[in-house]
């Protein structure tokens, strides 16, 4: 048997909610729990038996991704390629465009994972499910689904499942009224037959283009997975639903990165405990990742849920909690960093307090997902959220920066509260 995996990562014009962290670096390469977001995907894929190749599909320039791909190949000793879409092709257009690359070697199945979700990916179980259930019904696709709250389901793709045979009955993307609490996780297994579906849709669209006068050539070759492939498959028995109760979340905002940081660190504790720091000096509380080249003073107190990047310097008597500190950053003596993301090569002075507000799921509601609050509230004020320092930001000593977003290369001179600093 031969299995492949495709990771869809979009491009610069997508994922703008991840700014300012995505201004200098492609979002998929942003480090959560010490590793780039899609490295977590890759690690999950590598566990799949018979997996022979991983293809990363996106709109970023090859130069932005090539080093990462090389590193991944070195690390996991498996074929990994990055293929750049020539123009944004929508959520399925890239799959269709590169169908030959995906089909070569005759894989029996291929996974498609959305690059902007994070999860405890149950890929092997899902493969088993697709093989056993899909056999009888000649299923073309299995969608991974999970529960959400009634209210939150409205912002996701909603799935109605036939519980008797696990088939997809109905699918609506971001409905305006309640359809179902079961939502689409953005992780799929496809049989290569899906390319026939895609071809049909694609060709029809091309016909429409030629038939309509002055047809716009924008998005001429774009295909949309949810609307044009999945929705038509609903009710045909060719699409299956695999429901998981494992942890899953979208990763669209920096606040989500802090949330994912915590969960991935927690997963390391179960699966890869050697990655977590365990020492007496510095004092470690809970799950903490410290890169081997980071320089942490023995009097520092780190954790829970902290990731420290390569060559970072953590000074005397500092306290870091629920935060991500990226490579080459310096946090000087006595400072406190809480619910924040400190961009690469930034510096925080002495006795300074950098503090954000978490946007965790409501603990009283089962299956609640992260709050996806807009950036500003009704009065036009910034909603309290994780504090983010872009790359190369300098914060002086003795100030407080709270619930604020600082764009890269900025040098602050005073305290800030609830502001975006350009």
């Amino acid at each position: 048997m031969l299995v492949k995996a495709v990771i869809l990562i979009g491009g610069n014009q997508k994922g703008t909610r991840f700014r300012p962290l995505s201004l200098d670096l492609p979002k998929p390469l942003f480090a959560v729990a010490g590793f780039p977001i899609i490295q977590h995907h890759i690690e999950a894929c590598v566990q799949i038996p018979f997996l022979k190749e991983i293809i990363i599909l996106g709109y970023y320039a090859v130069s932005e991704m090539s080093q990462f791909v090389l590193d991944m190949v070195q690390l996991y000793k498996i074929n990994i390629r990055y293929l750049q879409e020539f123009e944004p092709l929508g959520t399925a257009g890239g799959l269709y465009h590169f169908r030959d690359q995906i089909r070569c070697g005759n894989p029996d199945f291929f996974f498609v994972l959305n690059g902007d979700v994070c999860a405890d990916f149950p890929l092997t179980e899902m493969l088993e499910f697709h093989k056993t259930h899909g056999e009888k019904q000649k299923a073309i696709v299995t969608l991974m689904a999970t529960e959400a709250t009634r209210q939150q389901s409205l912002i996701y793709g909603c799935i109605v499942e036939n519980k008797e045979n696990n088939t997809l009955e109905h699918y609506v993307e971001k409905p305006s009224t309640f359809i179902s609490t079961l939502i689409n996780c953005g992780v799929y297994i496809f049989s290569p037959e899906v390319f026939h579906q895609m071809a049909n849709v694609f060709n029809k669209k091309q016909m429409d283009f030629y038939n309509v006068e002055n047809g716009s050539s924008i998005e001429r070759e774009a295909l949309y997975l949810e609307k044009e492939i999945l929705m038509p498959l609903a009710g045909t028995g060719k699409a299956l639903v695999y429901q998981t109760i494992k942890w899953w979340s979208q990763l669209k905002t920096p606040g989500a990165a802090i949330y994912a940081n915590r969960h991935y660190l927690n997963l390391f504790r179960e699966r890869r405990p050697e990655r977590l720091a365990k020492s007496v000096q510095p004092t470690i509380i809970g799950d903490v990742y410290i890169h081997a080249t980071a320089n942490v003073h023995p009097t520092a107190v780190l954790g829970p849920n902290v990731s420290i990047g390569a060559h970072a310097t953590i000074g005397y008597g500092t306290r870091i909690k629920e935060s991500i500190v990226l490579a080459h950053s310096r946090i000087l003596d006595h400072s406190l960093v809480l619910y924040s993301i400190i961009g690469a090569n930034s510096e925080i002075g002495c006795w300074t307090r950098v503090e954000g507000t978490p946007c965790d799921p409501n603990p009283d509601k089962p299956f609640a997902k992260m709050e996806n609050a807009p950036l500003f509230n009704e009065e036009g004020k910034l909603n309290p959220s994780i504090t983010i320092l872009g790359n190369n930001v300098t914060i002086p000593s003795e100030v407080i920066v709270r619930n604020s977003i600082v764009l890269p290369h900025k040098e602050l001179t005073r305290s800030y509260n609830n502001e975006i600093i350009l």
Binding site: Y316, G317, D333
Partner: protein
Amino acid sequence: MGGKDVKLGTMKALILVGGYGTRLRPLTLSRPKPLVEFANKPMLMHQIEALLEAGVTQVVLAVSYRAEQMESELRAETDKLGITLIFSHETEPLGTAGPLALAKDILACGDEPFFVLNSDVICDFPFKEMVDFHKAHGKEGTIVVTKVEEPSKYGVVVYSDQGRIEKFVEKPTEFVSNKINAGMYIFNPSIMKRIELRPMSIEKEVFPCMANEAELFAYELQGFWMDVGQPKDFITGTSLYLKSVREKNPSMLYTGPGAVGNSLVDPTAVIGANCRIGPNVTIGPGVVIEDGVCVKRCTILRDATIKSHSWLDSCIVGWKCVVGRWVRLENVTVLGEDVIVKDEIYINGGKVLPHKAISDSVPEPQIIM
């Protein structure tokens, strides 16, 4: 001739202590205001010691609240200094003039003038100079005036070049003068005929008449002045006071490790490594400051503890408080007696009542009950 000295030696003073000290809450919920330590010494003792130095040996305290506690606490101090303290207890609040009538028997028993002081005033007390000035003009009353930046917040005094007061303007709406009533006076006993034993305001009911009769003169205070009856001014007043200490008695100031600017640290206080103390900090007896703490423009009262790596700016930390590690306090935060602030908390302009434990940050100014 010892005439002047003899006169001073029999001069008396009345200190208007008054009531609940509500503006200095939450500190005054635990102790009466005159006993709250300013620059490591009860506020009242600053005035009493200055009076003593000027030769006054009999001080009347006009109090309307907690007389017994003050009496027992001050007794030891004052006995040691050799000064006689008499408590004049108002059973109903008598305002700013009434207390004089209540203490008439003591204050007006001779014919020397007597001092009257507002208990919230801290300055370089010019008692000897006030007496000289008063004798020179020979009229019934002398009011000390001081220059301030924002006179409209106070009562403004208008006087001639010779110092004869012409009128008072309470909280003027246009600029009249930048000299205000500094809350220190000398009166001849003859003033008693103007004062009845009832709630009376000296500013509103007595001074205007005296001014009209040309019986009131203004003495211009040199040097710093502050009404330290509320936390913001208490903190500013401490900075001014410490500046004066630097000029008069610099050896009293803290010069240990981490010293910045002017600070006063009690010898029984313990200060850890890698701290920064100052500028303008007073640290009381038994205080423990752990490693890596930065304290600026603060008053830390007796037996408080500040744990490692915290940062405090413009605060008053009450007696026996425990401030945790990595705490940030700023913007005139006042912790009442025995408040516990947990690790990593941020308090901005909080006023915390006594015996409270704070486990959530207070990012906007608030009163915590």
